[in-house]
């Protein structure tokens, strides 16, 4: 279990909260739950229901999506100061990928109730939170485009398909 000071230090490292005042951050810190994962432990699987997002204090998790049987495509490695699970928190849809701890990991959990409280109590902080989130989304979208291109290139190279002269 971490101390309030450790939690605060963890939140300060998360990009979503860089524009937060210390008081807002401390208030938010009190509302978050703590969750630990041991190495290789699965937090949730693709398709599971969920309405929480997670902030990584230390450790790292792998984000993957099933390709076939026991084979999954590794989409991302997420480390300290980063977050995941926000899509289900915002739209309530099932989890879009599987999260598994790559090392022993400590997380802080932000649920819908805590998010609503943040919006009601500190609208300015909430606006900063969503603004930062949009930035991260854009970054991830760009990375996703690169990954898609890379996968397409892989397919073309592995099959020797000559598209240019078709």
């Amino acid at each position: 279990m971490s101390t309030p000071a450790e939690r605060l230090a963890c939140l300060r490292d998360v990009r979503l909260f860089t524009a937060f005042a210390e008081t807002d951050l401390a208030a938010l810190g009190q509302r978050l739950r703590e969750r630990t994962l041991r190495k290789n432990q699965v937090l949730f699987r693709e398709g599971d229901p969920g309405d929480e997002m997670f902030l990584i204090c230390h450790g790292a998790v792998l984000v993957s999506k099933v390709v076939k049987g026991k084979v999954e495509q590794l989409l991302n490695r997420i480390g300290p100061g980063e977050f995941f699970g926000e899509m289900s928190l915002l739209d309530g849809s099932p989890r879009s990928g599987t999260i598994q701890a790559e090392t022993d990991t400590m997380l802080l959990v932000l649920d819908r109730k805590s998010l609503n409280q943040l919006i009601e109590v500190s609208p300015h902080a909430a606006a900063a939170f969503f603004y930062a989130m949009v930035h991260v989304f854009i970054e991830r979208l760009r990375k996703s485009d690169v990954r898609l291109t890379e996968a397409t290139r892989w397919g073309l190279e592995a099959t020797g398909l000559d598209v240019e002269s078709r």
Partner: protein, 404 residues
Amino acid sequence: MTERPAKLELLVRRDDESFEVREIGSSLGFIQSRPRRIADGAFEVSEVKSRVAGERSFILKNRETERFLLLSEHEKFLWEQMDGTTSLQEIATAYVLTYGEFDFDVIPNLIRKLQRAQLLTLTPRSRLRQVLARNRRQSVVQVVEKTLTGLERITVSSRSVGPFFQRLHRWGGFLLFTRAAAVACLALAVVGGVAAVALWRAFDDVFSGFGGHAVRGVLLVKLLFFGSVALHQLVHALACVHHGRRVREFGFTFLHGFVPTFYVDVTDIFMANRRARVVTAVSGPLVHLVLGAGWFLVAASAPVGSFTQAFAAASGLIQWQALALSLYPFCFIEMDGYHVFVDVLGVPSLKHDALAYAKALLTGRARLQPKRLETLWLGYVVLSTLSIAAFIVFNVWLVVTAIS
């Protein structure tokens, strides 16, 4: 600027909580792909003789699209290998064995040409898989498919075994490839052979040692034999290292989805000379010669009619049977002896060509011709068919005799 090959990061789960992250390069995907030409009736090939250099070239026609392609003799050879079961890596190996050279661009260039002419297709890799895929609606077929897929996944292998085998070779493995080892092997074979003949004369007494536990005894013999298959592969690997080439992989898998076996990838030896290739191929089976001789000596010195004698004799028999099977080239299975045989004759696609010729004869698409190559193909098919029949009869007789 040359673009680096694309890579995929895949997470492969195991049955427990653990997993493995594998980085798969597109080049690996390419060399393991198994191009398949379109169905036999959908294309035709005709030879064009050159009036200048005497080089042969061929016209390949797609009957459906009416597209034509000019192939060199080398390209036609590659085209004939593209049967959907042979990987590009294996095709490249066959190419080297046939022509003694390899141009790394020849295969991708040909594949591009064939794709443009729509002469390649994608279908499941084995006939059994094709039949299963066609009947996937039946629940029994689904279970069989799932079982086969499950078994195929049970592959324990390592691609970083090179340094291990190099150490093993340095720490004494090299002794196996000395004159002294060859003489010892020969001496053991002679002594073991004498013991085997003596045991054969008292066959009934020897196998009476199993008593009422014949089935258990035979199963135990088979299980123990399975361990020697790993040793067989290990010696192949040492031979490969001994000739300065690299061992690429060692592992355990279910061949065709249901035959458990150990395997070693020593394809790097194809870059060495013929002597090295033959030594590497033959050294594995010699493990069975040595083990078999050892078992026969144990059986000969055990009390007559004892379980030990029966067990040792049966083990010796199965080891020498494995030796014969490994070195015998005529059995439709590409064992070590087959590789030596085709290497010496310089006909790397013998099995493939022989089966295609036999099929053409049976369907009336070809006629018997007293030419050398056709005679070799026919001889291969006939001998292999007879050999497999004899092998089955011998084993049935052996098991029945041991049990009764």
